[in-house]
Symmetry: C2
Subunit: 346 residues, 2 copies
């Protein structure tokens, strides 16, 4: 199954024949309390009239097995069969969890992702990774399974605050850092400003799709997409346990990208000049995340649970230069801690 | 990934190089309280010394998300990475659940099935279906994913009582009914007696593998394997809720095969003479399951949740003749109830 991707203000209209396909006996839209209010009204008219809505609570803290159980109960009570469709309307948490629920229900029913955050539009909803958190580890349980289609409508971004836009922007920057030096150099003076997100989203999805198509199951090349994520995920998991201090995904990835870019310099890969450029750009957008000394050991321990690791070796994606990443670079716990200290002192 | 199948008294020895492959960082054996005592001692010497054991409670009533959570916690605490191997040592409940747990952990780690019951040896452990029960529905959550290998050692059968042997035999009979009239006719006079199960197991696995290879994701042909299972699963689910009256899988499938063979006659497919032969053979082996009038409606309702259905239509596999099945035959709730009444009156 290959996903079809529709991007632009007409994405929902273009996909209407797909959503209202009579082959689907039942269509269920998965929403959270935010997307139900702000996004569902936009989507509603493109769905068959008889669709159902299932709501889950928003937020990374709800990306759990308990939420999945709720979804599976609802799907079962609606007598959903294998010829049904689940439409995931929300950010990355919702599309990851919704894809996971659909992939396991009766050994897999079809789903469509309608990402409503910039983060989900450029990253989470594309590429066939589904999953939930478990025991505090991000996406610890999951499967690879592609949606039937991804509908990316930039109009949904009007419902976001600046913090969420910045969070998604981190993944856009990541795509430039690993695969497009030209775009990085051109955009770093422009920062967050854009009149129309469509071309930036399109470009980012194109980079990601190219990589994922070459290596869908993350045996090798796809690992470059994890730049910033080895340390970034650990930082995110660490703050997930601290009530009131939770970071958005992109905020944690910004920390991770800085730490891993610094490690790239230590390993003789990236030049200090390019690290400077990355620092300057990221600092112009992201506020510094306060890391306590007491947290450094905990965060580096969390890196041990990264899915890319092999045994006690932490495998990281580093930068050879801006626009070129190398994967499976072993780093030690000590190196992670040194990188976090570098970040602390920035 | 295609599964390798080793059958016979040397299966474990033959697979030793696979089990002790140094590419696996950690090997975990999943057992229940029975296989730990009766089967693990046979397997132990074929595993790398440093392997771990994780135990779950036996029984269909434990084929649940809660048991999976326990397994995932253990795997996480053992720091299992993607280069680890899970060895499922047990009957169909354990191999289904263990395969499911391995397939989701970190988006999928490798697993080997070592089926210890006749049922699991000829059916559950082969073919890449994994799953657990949910809300009383059998295998309601699951994924398709093949084990690296299946190790079928008939020596494990010495640990079984006659009731469990009969349960597995039902799936052997099913394979004859859908695909090998010669074997059915030859074996129906022999019944359960055999000096060595290896050739019967081998023959049954060959039938199943041929069908699964032609249609791994059950889009069409694979559905023939569900003969006896539309009504059989419903009967099994129904008795799952009745403490002390639980049926073994094969016992329920024997009921299902009779009911669905009877329906095949009603639909003008199977001849009454062949139905007679099936009745006589199955009666010589299986005791009659007492169905109360009050249960008939409940059982037929449960058929509505079969994964092969499309909307409110129950899709069933029927027999055209002994040795030849036809799938996607729509049957009504009334027809299911009539079939159950036929069984009641037998």
């Amino acid at each position: 199954m290959t996903e079809e991707i529709f991007i632009g203000k007409d994405a929902l209209t273009q996909a209407q024949s797909l959503l209202a396909n009579k082959a689907y006996k039942t269509v269920v839209v998965l929403v959270d309390e935010n997307t139900f209010v702000h996004c569902y009204p936009l989507l509603k008219s493109h769905l068959p009239e008889s669709h159902h809505v299932v709501q889950i609570p928003s937020g990374e803290e709800n990306k759990t097995l308990a939420t999945c159980e709720h979804v599976w109960r609802e799907l079962t009570n609606l007598h959903l069969d294998r010829w049904s469709l689940v439409v995931n309307l929300g950010g990355g948490v919702l599309t990851d969890l919704g894809g996971f629920c659909a992939s396991l229900y009766k050994r897999g029913i079809r789903f469509v992702n309608v990402p409503t955050t910039l983060l989900a539009q450029v990253d989470a909803s594309v590429g066939g990774k589904t999953g939930i958190d478990f025991m505090g580890f991000k996406n610890h349980l999951g499967v690879f399974r592609e949606p039937v289609a991804v509908l990316v409508n930039p109009d949904f971004l009007h419902t976001l605050d600046l913090r969420q836009i910045k969070s998604g922007y981190a993944e856009i920057i990541k795509h430039w850092l690993i695969a497009d030096a030209e775009m990085f150099k051109a955009q770093r003076y422009i920062g967050l400003f854009t009149e129309d997100w469509t071309p930036l989203i399109e470009h980012s999805i194109k980079i990601k799709s190219r990589i994922v198509t070459a290596d869908p199951l993350e045996n090798d090349l796809r690992k470059v997409l994890n730049f910033g994520h080895t340390i970034g995920h650990a930082v995110e998991s660490y703050f997930l346990e601290k009530p009131g201090q939770m970071l958005l995904h992109g905020e944690a990835i910004a920390v991770g990208m800085l730490c891993e870019a610094w490690l790239s310099v230590q390993k003789g890969l990236l030049s200090p000049e390019e690290l400077d450029q990355i620092e300057t750009f990221l600092h112009s957008i992201y506020e510094k995340v306060p890391l306590q000394e007491s947290g450094l050991a905990a965060i580096s321990q969390l890196c041990l649970h990264d899915k890319k690791n092999s045994g006690a070796t932490i495998n990281c994606t580093l930068l050879e230069r801006i626009g070129m990443a190398v994967y499976d670079q072993p780093i030690t716990l000590q190196e992670v801690q040194s990188a976090l200290r570098y970040y602390q002192l920035l």
